[in-house]
């Protein structure tokens, strides 16, 4: 009787172990699945990488590529978008906001030329993906979001995923974040009719600000603002893609 019970118990245990193994396997498989998609995405971006400003192709900074390869983008999109999280396109994240196309994220991050000891300010946290990418690259990231539910979700998400050097807050990005200024780099992902002067003021000499220009799903161009060592402002407009608008030339 006892033996039978023991056998039965061990049988249950075996079943449980089996189930557990299966479950673990499936989670691992899931992770693997995303990892594969993620490296495919990184490879695609690598192929497209172009230098902003001149015609010679070059790669994005390898640290940027490394960050893209590490940050789990699928964690930053709504559940119904996870399937396509690693496709090279912008995705809706609710509240009329989007998570940028990975290629644009790479380009913007690359243009910011942030260093490991940099302090970065982001205006428009969105889902927190861009902040997470910076988190892997720099010392401190400060990010401001104007839409309350997005700000709350992004804060919780970044904490849960352990991006500890990112500080977020709900609020108006126009005035920047005075107490943490100046910044080595500022990225503005929210649309604006003009560049907020306080942000320019909070840029370190030698610092760079990057602003994508265009609609939610269609980035038209990027605006790069550089503050020289002697506080002069230089702005450049950078087409996101190399496109010659005339046929028969080049």
């Amino acid at each position: 009787m006892r033996l039978a019970r023991t056998i039965q118990r061990s049988k249950w245990a075996a079943v449980a172990a089996l189930l557990l193994a299966a479950a673990t396997a499936s989670t691992e498989q899931e992770v693997d699945e995303y990892a594969e998609a993620r490296s495919a995405m990184v490879a695609e971006i690598g192929r497209y990488a172009r230098s902003a400003g001149d015609t010679a192709e070059h790669a994005f900074d390898s640290r940027v590529m490394q960050a893209l390869a590490e940050v789990p983008r699928h964690e930053f999109v709504p559940d119904d978008q996870k399937r396509v999280a690693y496709e090279n396109r912008p995705l809706p994240i609710g509240h009329g906001q989007t998570i940028s196309q990975p290629y644009i994220v790479a380009l913007m991050t690359d243009l910011s030329e942030a260093e490991p000891d940099s302090t970065v300010l982001e205006i428009g946290t969105g889902s927190g993906y861009q902040a997470a990418i910076f988190s892997a690259l720099v010392e401190n990231v400060y990010s401001i979001e104007i839409v309350e539910p997005l700000a709350n979700d992004a804060k919780a998400r970044l904490e849960r995923l352990g991006f500890d050097n990112v500080t977020t807050r709900l609020g108006d990005g126009y005035d920047g974040w005075e107490e943490h200024a100046p910044f080595d780099a500022i990225v503005v992902t929210a649309a604006a009719s003009h560049v907020p002067p306080p942000l320019i003021a909070q840029l370190k000499p030698g610092g760079r600000m990057v602003i994508p220009v265009g609609g939610r799903f269609l980035t038209q161009q990027l605006l790069l603002i550089e503050k020289t060592a002697d506080d002069e402002i230089v702005t450049r407009q950078i087409a996101a893609v190399r496109f010659v608008p005339l046929t028969g030339e080049h």
Binding site: E44, Y48, R50, G53, N88, R89, P90, P92, G94, H95, G96, Q97, Q101, Y103, I104, L107, I146, V147, E148, L170, D172, Y174, A191, A192, S193, H194, V195, P196, P197, I200, V213, G214, G215, R216, F217, L218, T219, Q220, Q221, L223, I225, I233, V234, T235, R236, Q237, I238, A239, A240, V241, F243, P245, L246, T247, G248, E249
Partner: protein, 803 residues
């Protein structure tokens, strides 16, 4: 006699057309304007498919005519409301269309959802025709008369009622129509409880919240309302647009396009004014303190005021009034401001007058409720500065949302009109958003060159100047050559604000790229080429469509070229998505969809049930009905467009032209039997003289309308509407004839072909609604009309060859 039929048909027709126009408004609000074309094609699809449906179930339907009519009318009422609610909940996102092919599926879903009410409405009308054949002429009259009433009625109703209340009214009409058969013997009250229930639900129990607009979250208004503490201060609805005033106390709007990076000023307190949820314009707080407006000196649009002393200014598109304040800030001695929407004028001048500092009461300001083109055309004044306001939002402009929106503000003829109303030395100033590579900025240069050349100016390049910030460009066109001293003023103004000069007469390349550094100076290079010897070659080779917009092809915002599409599509993954103007793609998608769904819903069922082509019909009669379907809609669509300029607004034009064509085509159709009898007696073709009449009138109109429109643009709206109807009457009268003439012949020779005739004709109409617009974009309205006339001629040949 079944007298109930007449009022019932009238009500259904009125409600169906009313609903069609209502939907155009709704989709302009929750999505964007280009859906208007889809709705016209949808309504036609409903009519086509119901023709097939009735042809298939004729015997059963005839036996239960009254019941079937009642039920169908009730289904019309119910689906009208249901589609209104459901259609807005389809997660279609037009902006994602280049990324996500599934969006086309959503578009098709919207198409099918809105198909239902039109199908049921058309079934009612079709049943009446089929089952009360002896009354057919009078039914036809009430059908068309009702449609005409509905088209005009709903526009009037929308001036006083909200869109939602207008919807309840239209659905109520359909329910009343559904109850009417019950009053005739044999009395049948079976549906009365259901009808009463529907009416009660509609009027008393249907929650208003279900009917509220579900605006795309990517429209400016939706985005503004996501911001903490924003609130809507007021919403004002009319057929000219839904105006929404928004306040954002915590996060100020700070709308200042083209503000210099080196400015020390900030934008003052503003209220946002959205039209149909987009196109941000602002109301600016003003308490008499000019210092608060300092930023107005540091935007690109301020340039013309540096060239002029106390100018007399004309602002085209006053919107929220900020441009009027702008002119006063810069010392204008007099400002004439033109605004199409009277509610916008009331907002600035009355409702929020305390906020705007009673701007419109200022003795220097005169506000005119008018359409800009018409106002300029009939004005005897000359202005030192004519300023076209930047009223479209950057997001909309960037995404090609307006690609299909006709705009008569930026055509060659429009610019000529503006330039002719400048004082000697006066300026036309147009500020636009910057895009890379440039599109509208270059198209504007091409359009201006054409306008100046038509005015006999031999060296247009001496009159133009363009400056740019990182996101706006301001173009000046002077009435006279720009002097070296003025060039210095332009350079000083630009450089002291870190703006670049993109063009001025004899500008060196070194001056083109100093502050906002571009990888390539396409705007400078392109402007030089467009002002050079061979602008056409440049326009041809440019990968965006930048040929001048004209009144015949008023698609200023259309930049799409098929030749560059593949390259752009391939580049979208590399950040090049912004190159694609998707408005054009949606129209193409709509056309493909209409072609496929029309075949599935109209032709396929016909071919299953009635696979054999009846003897005596012949292929030529098939072609005849197909050609007529295409030609009628081509002419109708082109005239809707032609009359927009005259009647000032697309919706007026649709309502007036549509109802004019319907009513007078109805008269023509009623007279067609007599014509056939007379032609038979003379052994002549009845179609050929009709087609000759159509061709002659249409050709005369092509020559005459521009002149008439220019001459009478200044008349009051009711007079212009009356004139339009008178003009449409003879053309529509003749155009109403070929179809019933053909139908009569088929009825006598091969009765089994009638459903085919309906189906083929319906199918052609469905396709032609979007096809006409595509053709107009590519070749212009004149070409569409000429093509339609050729189609009519071909149809006449088909008909006569058969005889």
């Amino acid at each position: 006699m079944q007298r109930w039929i007449f009022p019932a048909v009238l009500l259904i027709s009125a409600a169906a057309i009313g609903y069609e126009i209502l939907l155009m408004r709704v989709l302009s609000i929750v999505q964007w304007h280009h859906f208007a074309y889809m709705i016209i094609s949808l309504a036609l699809l409903g009519y086509g498919a119901s023709g097939t449906f009735i042809a298939l179930g004729r015997t059963a339907l005839a036996r239960h005519f009254q019941f079937a009519f009642s039920l169908s009318a009730l289904a019309f009422a119910v689906t009208m409301v249901a589609s209104f609610i459901l259609g807005q909940r389809v997660p279609f996102n037009a902006l994602e269309i280049v990324w996500n092919p599934r969006q086309f599926l959503h578009l098709a879903t919207i198409y099918l959802v809105f198909f239902a009410p039109f199908f049921f409405a058309a079934t009612c009308i079709g049943l009446a025709f089929t089952c009360a054949r002896s009354l057919i002429n009078r039914i036809y009259f009430f059908d068309l008369f009702g449609a005409g009433l509905g088209a005009l009625g709903v526009v009037l109703a929308l001036f006083h009622w909200s869109t939602q209340d207008a919807l309840r009214l239209l659905a109520g009409l359909a329910i009343v129509a559904s109850a009417l058969p019950a009053v005739a013997p044999p009395l049948r009250y079976r549906l009365l409880p259901l009808q009463a229930l529907c009416l009660a639900l509609l009027l008393l129990a249907l929650p208003q919240s279900w009917l509220e607009f579900r605006m795309s979250p990517y429209k400016g208004l939706s985005q503004a309302l996501e911001v903490v503490d924003t609130r809507v201060l007021g919403q004002y609805s009319s057929p000219l647009g839904l105006l929404t005033v928004v306040e954002s106390p915590t996060v100020p709007f700070r709308h200042a396009p083209g503000l210099s990076l080196s400015t020390r000023f900030e934008a003052p307190e503003q209220l946002a004014l959205f039209t149909d949820g987009d196109g941000l314009s602002t109301l600016t707080r003003f308490d008499g303190d000019d210092d608060a407006l300092g930023y107005m000196g540091d935007v690109t649009a301020a340039l013309p005021y540096r060239m002029l002393e106390q100018p007399h200014v004309l602002v085209l598109g006053a919107g929220g009034g900020t441009d009027v304040l702008f002119a006063l800030y810069h010392g204008a001695r007099r400002v004439d401001a033109v605004e199409l929407n009277p509610q916008a004028v009331k907002l600035v001048g009355d409702i929020f007058a305390d906020f705007t500092g009673h701007l419109y009461d200022d003795p220097r300001v005169a506000v005119h409720v008018a359409e800009a083109r018409g106002f300029v055309a009939r004005s005897d004044d000359r202005f030192d500065l004519i300023q076209v306001s930047l009223l479209d939002s950057f997001a909309a402009s960037g995404a090609g949302v307006q690609a299909l929106s006709e705009s008569y503000l930026y055509t060659v003829e429009a610019l000529q009109e503006y330039l002719q109303h400048l004082t000697p030395g006066g300026y036309l100033a147009i500020t636009r958003w910057i895009k890379l590579p440039p599109r509208d900025n270059l198209k504007l240069v091409a359009t201006l060159r054409e306008a100046l050349e038509r005015m006999g100016v031999t060296e247009p390049g001496k009159r133009l100047a363009i400056i740019r910030s990182w996101n706006t460009s301001t173009l000046l066109a002077k009435n006279g050559d720009i002097s070296p001293a003025e060039i210095e003023t332009i350079r000083d103004f630009a450089h002291s604000r870190s703006f670049d000069t993109a063009y001025y007469p004899s500008m060196p390349r070194s001056d083109a790229n100093r502050f906002n550094i571009l990888q390539e100076t396409y705007l400078y290079d392109g402007t030089l080429r467009l002002l050079g010897d061979d602008p056409e070659a440049f326009i041809d080779r440019y990968k965006f469509h930048i040929a001048p917009a004209t009144d015949d092809r008023p698609y200023f915002f259309h930049f799409f070229k098929w030749s560059a599409f593949q390259e752009m599509l391939a580049l979208r993954t590399q950040g090049g998505a912004g190159l694609i103007e998707w408005g054009y793609l949606i129209l193409t998608g709509t056309l493909v969809q209409a072609t496929v769904l029309g075949a599935v819903l109209i032709l396929l069922p016909l071919s299953v049930i009635q696979p054999r082509w009846p003897r005596g019909a012949g292929r030529r009669m098939g072609a005849y009905f197909f050609l007529l379907g295409l030609a009628f809609l081509f002419v109708e669509m082109a005239f809707i467009q032609k009359f927009i300029l005259f009647l000032s607004h697309p919706l007026y034009s649709i309502a007036v032209v549509l109802s004019g064509f319907l009513v007078f085509a109805g008269f023509g159709s009623a007279c067609s039997a007599r014509l056939v009898r007379r032609a038979d007696a003379l052994k002549r073709s009845p179609v050929m003289p009709v087609v000759i009449g159509i061709v002659a009138i249409a050709l005369v109109y092509l020559l005459l309308l521009p002149f008439l429109f220019a001459r009478f643009a200044g008349l009051d709206d009711p007079v212009k509407i009356g004139m339009s109807l008178v003009l449409i009457a003879p053309l529509a009268f003749f155009m109403g004839m070929p179809f019933p003439i053909g139908l009569a012949r088929v009825a006598s020779e091969a009765a089994g072909f009638i459903p085919w005739a309906w189906g083929i004709n319906g199918y052609a109409s469905v396709v032609s609604a979007s096809l006409a617009t595509l053709l107009a974009i590519e070749a212009g309205f004149t070409a569409v009309i000429v093509l339609a006339l050729l189609l009519y001629a071909a149809a006449a040949l088909c008909f006569d060859q058969r005889a």
